[in-house]
Amino acid sequence: MGSTDERVVAVIMVGGPTKGTRFRPLSLNIPKPLFPLAGQPMVHHPISACKKIPNLAQIFLIGFYDEREFALYVSSISNELRVPVRYLREDKPHGSAGGLYNFRDLIMEDSPSHIFLLNCDVCCSFPLPEMLESHRRYGGMGTILVIKVSAESANQFGELVADPATNELLHYTEKPETFVSDRINCGVYIFTPDIFTAIQGVSTQRKDRANLRRLSSFDALDSTTRNLPTDFVRLDQDILSPLAGKKQFYTYETMDFWEQIKTPGMSLKCSALYLAQFRFTSPNLLASGDGTKSAAISGDVYIHPSAKVHPTAKIGPNVSISANARIGAGARLISCIILDDVEIKENAVVIHAIVGWKSSIGRWSRVQASGDYNAKLGITILGEAVSVEDEVVVVNSIVLPNKTLNVSVQEEIIL
C-alpha cells in the first residue's frame, strides 16, 4: 500500500484558442479555462479538487495558449494553495496522451508514484482521493472515472464496458454508431508512471509501420493512423481501446453530477452545479440576505466582495456576480452570470443569461432566455461592453461585444 513518501502529481489539459471556438463570444475576451463558474475560473475547480489529494507535489496545466495568458493566474493560485502550479505550453498538437508524454521529464521530476490527468472543461465533483485509493487496490496501469448516462446520449462520448466484479476495463469505443454501453468516459484519469512506456510503445509501433510502408507498398496496414505523426498519441483510441481487457485499466464510477463545458450555455448550467456543491463544501462562499439590510437572496448565489448590490434588489437562485459589478435598486436576477464591472440599473430583470464584462443594463430593461442550455439561443449572451438601453427587451439572443441595443430583439445574433 502507499507509504507517506509517495508523491502524486496532477496534470490538467486546458486546450487552446483554436479549439475553443464553440465558446464564443465569451472566449473572444478570455481563455475558456479562465472563464468564471460560480465565481471562480473554470480551471480553479479541478485545481481545488487536486488539493484534497494526499501528498500532492505539483500541478501542471498543459495547453496551447500563450504563457502570458496564464502567468498571473498560475502564480496567484500557487501562493493560495501552497502547491506549485505550472503552465506548460505545447508547441504542436500531440494528442491527449502525446501531450502528457511530451512533458514526461518535468512531470516525473519528483518521481511521483501516481499521475492524475484531468480535462479542464469537465464539470464534476472530482472524487480524486477516492479514485487514488481504488486505483491502488486494483493495481493496474490506470483507473478511469466513469458515469452512467442515458442510452440515447451515450454515443456522444467514449463508451466503456467494465467487469462488474473487478471493475476491470473490458472494452472501450469512442463515439460508436451503435449502442455499446451507457457508461461513459468522464475525462478524469489516474495513472502509474508505466503509462509513459505504453505511450512510447504506440509511438514506436507507428514509426515501425511507417518504415514498413516505405519499404513495401503494403497498403492494408492501419490506414486510420497513416496520416498521424508518430508522436501524436490519442489516449482513447491508441491506449485505452487496445489495452482494454488486458488487466491494465480499471474504472471508478461516480454517482455525482458530470457535464462537459463546451458552450456558454453549458457554463451557466455548470456554474449552478458548482454553486449547489458549495452549499456542502464551502457554504461561507455563498451569499445570504433577506432584503432588509442587504439584498434578498434566494437559493445558491455567489457575490464577489467588491460587488455592490442595492438592498431592494432580489438575487437568485443560481446567480454568480463578479468583481466590481453594481446591481441597482429593484433589480431582479435569476439564473445568470454577471461578469466584472457590469452595471445593472434600477428595476432591470435578467433571467437565464450571461452578461459580459463592463456591460450596462438599462432601467426597466429585460435580458432573458428560455433557459434551454442545449439550444443554440437558449441562454442569452451579452459579450464585453454591450449596452442595453432603458426598457429594451433582449430575448434568446447573442450579442457580440461593444454593441448598443436601443430596440428590443428576439432570437437574433447581433454581430
Binding site: 431592494t312 429593484g330 435569476i334 426598457e391 427587451v393
Partner: protein, 310 residues
C-alpha cells in the same frame, strides 16, 4: 353597465334611459325600436352617437350647421389617411351636401369617412322599419338621393376605437386634446412624462415613471419602481413593484406581478392576474385567468396553459 349609467346620471345631472335589442337590428333598426322614447312633440332634431369612436364632439357647432342647411339629416365626417378601410362619404365641398356613400372603395373617391356622429330630424324615424337595417347602406343613401343629407367635417381628432390598437392611439389623441383644452386635468410631478391622467383615488408609489399617454382609473394601486407608458389601467387594478408595462390595456380588478414585463398590445380582461416576473408579449387574456408562464409571441389565452418556466 346599468350601475355605471346610474353613477353618470347623478354626476352629470341628466336622465339616461336604456333601450335593449333582444336581437340585433343593425345600425338603424335600434332607432325604430326606441321610437317612442326619442320622439317628444318639440320637433327638434336628435343626436345619434356611436360609442366606439372618440373625438372632441363639437355638438353645438353641429346644431348650428344643421339649422343652417335646413336638411333632414347631418353627419360628421372625419378626414383620414386610409379611407379604404371605412365607408367613404362623397360630398360637395362647399355646401357639404352628400352625393353618395361608397363602402371600402378600391380606388380613391374621397378621404372623408363616416365618423359615426349624426343629427337627425324626427322625420328620419319614419324611414326606418323595425327590422335589421343599416343606416349607412339603406337610410342615408335614400336621404342623400333626395338631397336632404349634409356632412360636416370634424375639427380636431377622431378615432374608431373598436380595435384595441386603435383604442391606445385614440387615448393618445384624446390626452393630446386635453393638454390643449384643459391641461389642469392632466397629472403632474417628477414621476410623470408627457400626457397622463390619473384618477384622484389612485395611489402611486416611489420611484415610478409614468407616461407618456397613460390613463389610470379609480381605486388603483401602483407600487414603487413601476414603469408605465402608452397604456390604460382600468378600475381597481394593482400593479406590483418594479413592473414595466407599455402599449397595454389592463382590465378591471386585474393584477400585474412584481418585475413583470407586459407590452406590445397585451390585453388583460377583467380579473386577470399576471404572476411575478412573467413576460407577456402581446398576450390577449380572457377574464378570470392567472398567467403563470411567459407569452413569447402575441397569442390569445383562453384555456389553461401548460406550465412553462418564466
Amino acid at each position: 353597465m346599468l350601475n355605471f349609467l346610474k353613477d353618470f346620471e347623478a354626476k352629470l345631472g341628466i336622465k339616461i334611459t336604456c333601450s335593449q335589442e333582444t336581437k340585433p337590428l343593425g345600425t338603424a333598426g335600434p332607432l325604430a325600436l326606441a321610437r317612442d322614447k326619442l320622439i317628444d312633440d318639440s320637433g327638434e332634431p336628435f343626436f345619434v352617437l356611436n360609442s366606439d369612436v372618440i373625438s372632441e364632439y363639437p355638438l353645438k357647432e353641429m346644431i348650428a350647421f344643421h339649422k343652417h342647411h335646413g336638411g333632414e339629416a347631418s353627419i360628421m365626417v372625419a378626414k383620414v389617411d386610409e379611407p379604404s378601410k371605412y365607408g367613404v362619404v362623397v360630398m360637395e365641398e362647399s355646401t357639404g351636401e352628400v352625393e353618395k356613400f361608397v363602402e371600402k372603395p378600391k380606388l380613391f373617391v374621397g378621404n372623408k369617412i363616416n365618423a359615426g356622429i349624426y343629427l337627425l330630424n324626427p322625420s328620419v324615424l319614419d324611414r326606418i322599419e323595425l327590422r335589421p337595417t343599416s343606416i349607412e347602406k339603406e337610410v342615408f343613401p335614400k336621404i342623400a338621393s333626395e338631397k336632404k343629407l349634409y356632412a360636416m367635417v370634424l375639427p380636431g381628432f377622431w378615432m374608431d376605437v373598436g380595435q384595441p390598437r386603435d383604442y391606445i392611439t385614440g387615448l393618445r389623441l384624446y390626452l393630446d386634446s386635453l393638454r390643449k383644452k384643459s391641461p389642469s386635468k392632466l397629472a403632474t410631478g417628477s414621476h410623470i412624462v408627457g400626457n397622463v391622467i390619473v384618477d384622484e383615488t389612485t395611489k402611486i408609489g416611489e420611484g415610478c415613471l409614468i407616461g407618456p399617454d397613460v390613463a389610470i382609473g379609480p381605486g388603483c394601486v401602483v407600487e414603487s419602481g413601476v414603469r408605465l407608458s402608452c397604456c390604460t389601467v382600468m378600475q381597481g387594478v394593482r400593479i406590483k413593484k418594479h413592473a414595466c408595462i407599455s402599449s397595454t390595456i389592463i382590465g378591471w380588478h386585474s393584477t400585474v406581478g412584481q418585475w413583470a414585463r407586459v407590452e406590445n398590445m397585451t390585453i388583460l380582461g377583467e380579473d386577470v392576474h399576471v404572476c411575478d416576473e412573467i413576460y407577456s408579449n402581446g398576450g390577449v387574456v380572457l377574464p378570470h385567468k392567472e398567467i403563470k408562464s411567459r407569452i413569447w409571441k402575441p397569442e390569445i389565452v383562453m384555456c389553461k396553459l401548460i406550465k412553462n418556466p418564466r
